[in-house]
Each structure stands twice: as C-alpha cells, then as structure tokens.
Symmetry: none
DNA sequence: AGAAATTTGTCCGTATGTATC
DNA sequence: AGATACATACGGACAAATTTC
C-alpha cells in the first residue's frame, strides 16, 4: 500500500472520527479510548498514524494518555458548573523530592501551596493544588 | 543500533541541544534551522526522531515550520513572559490522609492525578496538581 | 514557463524500552 | 512474573510545497 493522502491526511480523518464519537457520547467521558492496537486494526492504519491522531486529540484537550494504562477521555468540564462551589486555602509546605527537583531547590525547602476544593452537590469532586516558590521580592 | 532510551529520550536531548544553540545565539533569531537531513546526519538519528525534537521546539514556540521552506527560529519576543510552555502528565496515586478525607475514601485508595508544569524560559515556575476520583460516572 | 532539486509532510512496518496491570 | 499498553527509535517510501535552474 502506497502513501496517498489526497485532501485530508489519514491521521486527521481518524482524529475527526474519534472526536465525533466522543462528542456524540458513543465513547463516554472518563472511559478509556480503544487501545492503539485496537485502533490500528479498526482503521487499518499503522500505529504511528494512530498515535498522530491521538496526539491531535490530546493537544485539543479531549483526552489524556497515561503510559502503560491507556488514553482516557477527559471529563466534560461544562457540566460541573451548576451546583459547584469552591473553597480555597493557602499554606506553606515543604518540598518533597519531586517538587524539589522541579523547582531546583533542596528537599524540604519552603513552597507556597494553594489548594482549591471543587464541590459538586456537597461532595468534593476535584482537588487542585498549585505550588509556587515563595515570592522573595 | 537498537533503540535504547535510558533516562532522557533521544529526541529530547536533541531538542535541548538545539534550544541551547538558539538561546545562546549560535543560531540567531530569524534564520532557518539546519534542514532535517542535516540534523539527521549531525546527530546520527532517524528523521522521525529529529522531527520529534523539532516538534517539541515548535510546541514551545521557539521555531516555526513552513512546508517546503524550512524551520525558522522565531524572532525574539524578548518582551518576556510570553515564553511560557506547559507540560501535562497524568498518573495514578494513592490517597494520602488529607485527600482521603476530602474524597471520603480510605487512605491509599487510587486517585487520578494530573500534573501540569508551567515553565517560563525553561525554568518551572508553577506546578499544578489536580486530583479526581477515577472513573466518574 | 517548465523541470529538477530541495525540504517538510504523511505513512508504513518493525523492533525494543518502560510503565502498568 | 507474565501480559498488556503506551513511548521511543529506526529506515524506507511517496506526497506536497517551495525554490532554483
């Protein structure tokens, strides 16, 4: 099989098809996308092409991929807006090993953490923690 | 040559090297990057790997590519701050005591963590961690 | 104006590494 | 430890846009 891509590239057609399934609900939010090999078989495309399609969806924020686990459809943010309230608090925390590496400081160094709780109907649905270096100026 | 990518992937090392040349002025702003085949020869890497490196620079806004022409170093935005890029990673983590209380689950229960790194001029400035329950129905 | 050369874009197939289950 | 799934890398082929002759 040669490599014809007249008009629309193959990977874009696959991406559009998957996007359609997500937005129409054929693939519900929060569940994993078919695996790369499943998509490879379904669309008769090489894995690289399938990965290109998934990358496009990822760039669009529609899905998120986890190494070794799969690619998951991102939960729909629009629906959360109704009964949701947020609660924010700030505190000083010590850098763990990972944060220390990211910020290039020593383990245990002081960081500012802002924690936002997002409640839907009373129950905590999402916790967002933002870390920054303390402002020194 | 097999395909070892212990530690840092090859394409990232190439991207870092090119970024270094750009930021140090070895490759001035506004001029074209070496062609893909030139980079292929210089780094002894496959073209796909070189293209992956260039894609990383493109995502970071350092270069822009034009079909049939080449990849050009973006003119200096040098009014700072807009040189920020993000990197997102998702993983499964065990709930610590606090998160367990917030989500009303047991300590150690599986949560999905999405971590976003916000870089300004290469250095991590902000880390955002979002926690959710897996498989929300 | 047209043909050839150059350069990036797309696609295939395969192999191996790494993370997760 | 084995199976599954995504990540990285190679090499080859052809397509499309641009430049050069």
């Amino acid at each position: 099989m040669p490599t014809p891509h007249y008009g629309q590239p193959r990977y874009r057609a696959i991406a559009d098809e998957l996007r359609e399934r997500i937005e129409s609900g054929v693939i519900p939010r929060g569940v994993p996308l078919p695996t790369e090999s499943a998509l490879t078989a379904e669309f008769r495309a090489a894995r690289g092409t399938v990965r290109q399609a998934i990358a496009a969806l990822r760039d669009a924020g529609l899905v998120a991929t986890q190494h070794g686990r799969g690619t998951y459809v991102t939960p729909d943010q629009h629906q959360l807006a109704e009964n949701s309230e947020t609660e924010t608090q700030q505190r000083k925390v010590a850098a763990d090993a990972e944060l220390a590496a990211l910020f290039a400081v020593e383990v245990g160094a002081a960081l500012v953490e802002e924690q936002i709780l997002i409640r839907a109907n009373g129950a905590v649905g999402t916790v967002v923690r933002t870390y920054r270096m303390p402002q020194t100026k």
